[in-house]
Structures are given as C-alpha cells and as structure tokens.
Symmetry: C2
Subunit: 372 residues, 2 copies
C-alpha cells in the first residue's frame, strides 16, 4: 500500500543520498527527483529482432530499475524459446512477424523496441504504433528522411511516443561535456571532429545489403559523428559537403558506402569534419574545440567505457552500461514525459536522416548541399 | 692533418657505434656515413630577414655542427648591429636589400636563407641565386605555384641548389613514423588527419596582409597538414576538395583565409582530412591510420618537443631543436648531395604550392579539383 508516510520515508532517504537537506520542502524537489518515486510503474518493453544488438540490449536491461523486458517479436522460434528461458518471458508475450499486430490486445506490453534491419524499421515501427504501443527504433531510425517522416507522422497519428536508440545521449561523460559546452566552459565552439569507423567482417551480413541497410558505414557508424556534431556543438548544421572513397567495390556494392568524409557548417560559424568508414579500426574519436577550451573523447561512442579529457582534466564520470541507462531514461521519458538533456524523439532521428540524405547527395553532386 | 690512418681510426669507432662489423669494407659503407667525415667543410649561411623566425633559426644554428651563420641581409641597421654582436658576424658579410646582390663577390657566403614575407620569397630567392648562392627559402616557398616554378627554374638556370625550410623532415619522431610506414608496419595506409591552427594575434602583421602573405592560415600553418599528408602517406594526392569558413572578415580580409577544411584523395585509396585555421588553438595533431596500425602525434609540428605514439607504443626519440637538425642536414644536402628521407628541394615546395592553389580553387568552385 502506497501511503504518504511511505512516500515521505522514501523521500527522506533519497534526499540524504542526494545531499539535500531533509528539511527541503517537497515543493522544491525537482521533477526528476520525484520521478524516482515511480519505480513501481515499470516500462514494459518487447524487443523486436533478436540479433546481436537486441541481445546486448536485453542483457543490459537486466540491470534496469524501471524498464523491464517482458516480450519478444522474432521470426525464429528457437530464439524465442531461448529468450523465454533467459529472460523469463511468458508465452503470451511472444510474437512473430505474422502475428505481432495482435500485440494491441496485450495490456502487459507498453512499448516495442525495434531492432530489426534499418530497411524494416518503418514498417515495424508503424506496425507497433498501430497496435497502440510506444515505439523505440534503433538508429538509424530509417533508411532516408522520407521514411523517417512517415514514422514521426504515423506515431503522432496513433497517439504513441516514438524514440530513437541514441544511447550516447545518456552516457555520463558525454553529458558532462555537453553541460560544459552549455555552461560556456569551452567559449565559442568552432570545431568538431568525429571519426567513426571499424573494419566490418562477414560480407554477407544485412548491413552490407542495400535493401536492408539503406546504405553502408554512414547508416551504421557515420551517424554517430553526425549526431555527435549536433549534440556537441549544440546547433543544427546549415550545409554539408562530402567525399566518398571506395577501395573495395566487391564488398561494398552500389549504394553501400565504404568510406565517406563529410563536413558540416553551423550557423554560429563552427565547422565539423567527420569520417565514416567500414574499412578502418582505431576510429572512435570526438574532438570539440572552442575559443576557451576543448574536449576530446576516445573511445567516444563505443559500447565499453568512454574515455576523455577536457582542458580542465580527465573526464571521471563512472561507466554504466549505456543501454541500461538508456532504457531507464526512456522509461522516464515515455511514462513521465521527462525531458532528456538531448532529445531522443523521432524528430531528433529525422534530423539525422535529413543530413544523411544530404551527405549522399553531396557525394553525388560533388558540391555543397544546403540544409536550410 | 687528415691522413688515411686518422680516417680509419674515426671510421672504426663510428662503425662500432653503428653496429657495423669493424671488418666492413669501406666500399660497403654508406655515403651518409662517409659524409660525416666532412665536418671541417661548413655551410656558411647568410640569413635574409631578421624577424622572429629568422631569430629562431639563428639561435638554433648556434648548436649546429656543420651549418654556420656568417652573414645577414636586413633593411634595419639596428638589427644588423645587434646580430653582429650576438652572432659575431663581420661587417663585410652584412647587406641590405639595396646592395645584397653584391653578395656574389663574397666568397665567404655559400647560401642565403630567405626568411622574408612569403610575397617576397621569389624576388629574394632569385636575387640570391643570380648572385651564385645556394638558396634556402622558408615555407611556403612562394605565394602560388607559378612563382614557385619560377624559383625552381631560376635556381636551376643559375646552377645553385634550392631548398625549402621543411624542418619536420628532419625531426626524429616524424622520421620514425615515416620509416614505420615505409616498412609496412601500419599495413595499407588509408587515412591521414592533420589539424593545424592557432589563434593569430596582431591584426597588422604581414601574415594578414594579402600582398605580403599571399593568403592566410593555409600559407602559414595549413601547409603543415598538406606536407604532412604527403610525407605520412607517402604518395602524391590526386584530388582536393575544400570548404572555407570566415567568422571574422574584419581581421581576415579578402584573400586571407581564416579557416579552411580540406580533403585530399590519394592514388592508393587513402584520404586525408585536414583543418587549417588562424582562429583556434589546441590544433597541432597528426593521425595516420592503416590496416595494421596507427600513429598519432600531438604536438605534431610545433617548435617544442613532438609527442606521439603508434600502435606499438610511445615515440621515444629525443628532442633536438628542429632548426638545428634542419640546418646541419641542409649543409649535408647542399655540400655533399646527401639524399634526405623526405625531399626538401624546390620541387617538393612546388608540389605544396600546386596543392594550395588547388585548395583555393576548390573553395571558390565548391567542387573537386583534380591534381593530375
């Protein structure tokens, strides 16, 4: 039974943990703080697509305080069986791609996290939305801006929330740098550099199949530099230029980009210089430079601990599994309307897709593509 | 008295130091090794232009083993007087810009190091060449490729050597990375990144005067990334793209570039991504990435100690003042025809000027400019 007394006991303990005075009036407590009292209202999530990244998210969710993995959608019965055992998922919450629309009749699932190949995100996100479920789409949210726009509009029409799996937006060192930039500690920001790449293996994987991926390295890993440029600089780019290099056309076929350099211009005068590649390792670096200081992060977006420093010294925030933080934060966003430091909604994802479209256009035309 | 016995004694000691067998036949000894015996034939240098960089070179030359500062050319009598005292320069080796052509009658000067503003290099280099003196021109060797070509042709016609002040070509950590790349230790090189910039001060200085500088940051500091891309990758670029940003047109007037991002494509499939700016500090970084390893240097071209690491660990070569090494090496090149690890001749300088011309063209046209 939830009583005011119970609530105040909890609040008092939490207030101590937060170094607030126990005499702080409740009215002065932040919304975030009060939200922590909602632990007993979990976000019940079904994961659609039980591949390697879906598995990573599921494992991370074991440590979540508020997001709970309660269902699965998969075309592979053996995977469903294994996940049921591993994550204690009841049979009534298991679906395949033929029957997942019936999820609308399941009151025990609040949201569907779409972790299928990029080219299927739109169909699956809209399917979940039509079933009345909130949608989390893995990034890139679609294969182009038109699809992304359909997803935003479709979720709006269905009255459900649409989020995109931007896990870095919740990563503590990343947030620390963003907050330093917001506080003016780097002065006027003039330059961002993002290097995003790795050597991709198995040439038969869906990421190298244009129909399923919608592109190549840019869709998968270059998007980190795009999104990073935006949240690090804190502005929306106004132009883009891009240059493609393809050394292995057998592996990287028509439409699947291997290496693209791209540059972004920002209204405040900052520029970004980025690299996206499927042909090089040792590339997971962000560098933000301003008139008063700088931040550099390497690794900057990998799954493991982020490392970095600013002109003030090393970044010392603790490492917590990104997807654990992400899913709990997304529970707060979906259930309580909490505003994250950097948006993770469909509009945010759409902005990246508009830029990706422009990068591909700039590669083709060889010229500067305006984003305004 | 130099005798064969003295020579063999020296050779034997040096052979041990070089881990050669003392029984190595003299004919098998490298030309470089034999050249070390010529210490008693110095390169006698006059510096033209006694500004801050000329002063830096002069101080560094105090520690040279083979290059000797013996003369000056300056339009400022008080500077000449001070340098005579500081560097023990006889009056007969002092010239001004009206009479320096008479240097042709001075047998005690072998070479003139032109350290005047960029826009005067051509006139001064050709003047020294016509006087029969070898020429070292500070970089950029000219304000455009046409001027640079005139300098190459003029020095050839005059029968003198023309070198360009590429001090990094002699810097031990830089050479170590170049040698690792040549030895294949990074595998196939695919990416170079050069960030070159600093916040320039006094807006009235000649570097911000188009007539004297021929450009802005690109001429002064961007050239390090251009040249670095070439010696790090070990190929000549085949295309360039570039994007200019000017936030302070009052300080950086027409023709004087403030910030330019540029990209180079190489025949082996590597790409370079570079930044040249007069508006940001914390930018002195090189990064070379290959299929098997990487090198990163920061600072990469500053005057102080270079710092860096490769996939094999930190670069531990000692710091020696760059200009000291440069001038002794240039003495070996001019007097003995020694071949440096990376060329520093007029053709090398001309290649950078061709690329700078192409970068400015790419900025104007917005498109890819071919270099072949």
């Amino acid at each position: 039974m939830k009583t005011r007394r119970n609530f105040l006991q909890k609040a008092s303990l939490s207030a101590l943990a937060l170094h607030l005075s126990p005499f702080t009036p409740i009215s002065a407590m932040s919304k975030e703080f009060l939200n922590t009292q909602n632990d007993d209202t979990p976000l019940r999530v079904a994961i659609m697509g039980l591949g390697s990244y879906g598995t990573r998210v599921a494992k991370a969710m074991k440590d979540c305080k508020r997001a709970k993995l309660v269902g699965v959608i998969s075309g592979t019965p053996s995977k469903i069986e294994a996940w049921q055992k591993e994550y204690n998922i009841p049979a009534k919450n298991c679906y395949n791609y033929e029957n997942y629309h019936q999820i609308k009749d399941n009151p025990d699932i609040d949201a569907v996290y779409v972790i299928t190949p990029n080219g299927l995100h739109k169909e699956h996100a809209l399917g979940a939305a039509k079933a009345g479920k909130h949608v989390i789409s893995e990034k890139p949210m679609a294969t182009n801006a038109a699809e992304a726009k359909e997803m935003v509009d479709g979720c709006k029409a269905a009255g459900v929330k649409l989020l995109v799996g931007y896990r870095m937006h919740f990563e503590p060192k990343t947030q620390a740098v963003i907050n330093m930039r917001k506080d003016g500690e780097f002065g006027k920001v003039l330059f961002f550099q993002g290097l995003s790449g790795f050597v991709i293996g198995d040439p038969s994987q869906w990421r190298l199949n244009y129909e399923l991926s919608g592109g190549g390295a840019m869709m998968d890993i270059g998007i980190y530099s795009i999104n990073g440029a935006r949240y690090m600089i804190g502005e929306e780019p106004i132009w883009v230029t891009a240059q493609e290099t393809k050394n292995n056309p057998d592996k990287f076929k028509e439409g699947v980009d291997e290496t693209i350099q791209f540059q972004l211009g920002f209204p405040g005068g900052a520029v970004a210089s980025c690299l996206s590649t499927y042909s090089m390792n040792n590339l997971d670096k962000f560098f933000l430079n301003g008139t008063k200081g700088f931040a550099e992060m390497q690794p900057s977006t990998g799954y493991g601990p982020i490392e970095g420093r600013t002109n003030k010294g090393p970044l010392t925030q603790p490492h917590v599994t990104h997807q654990t933080l992400q899913m709990d934060a997304m529970a707060d966003i979906i259930l309580d309307g909490k505003e994250p430091l950097v948006p993770v909604d469909g509009e945010e994802g759409l902005r990246d897709m508009v830029i990706i479209d422009a990068i591909y256009k700039a590669v083709k035309t060889g010229g500067k593509v305006s984003l305004i």
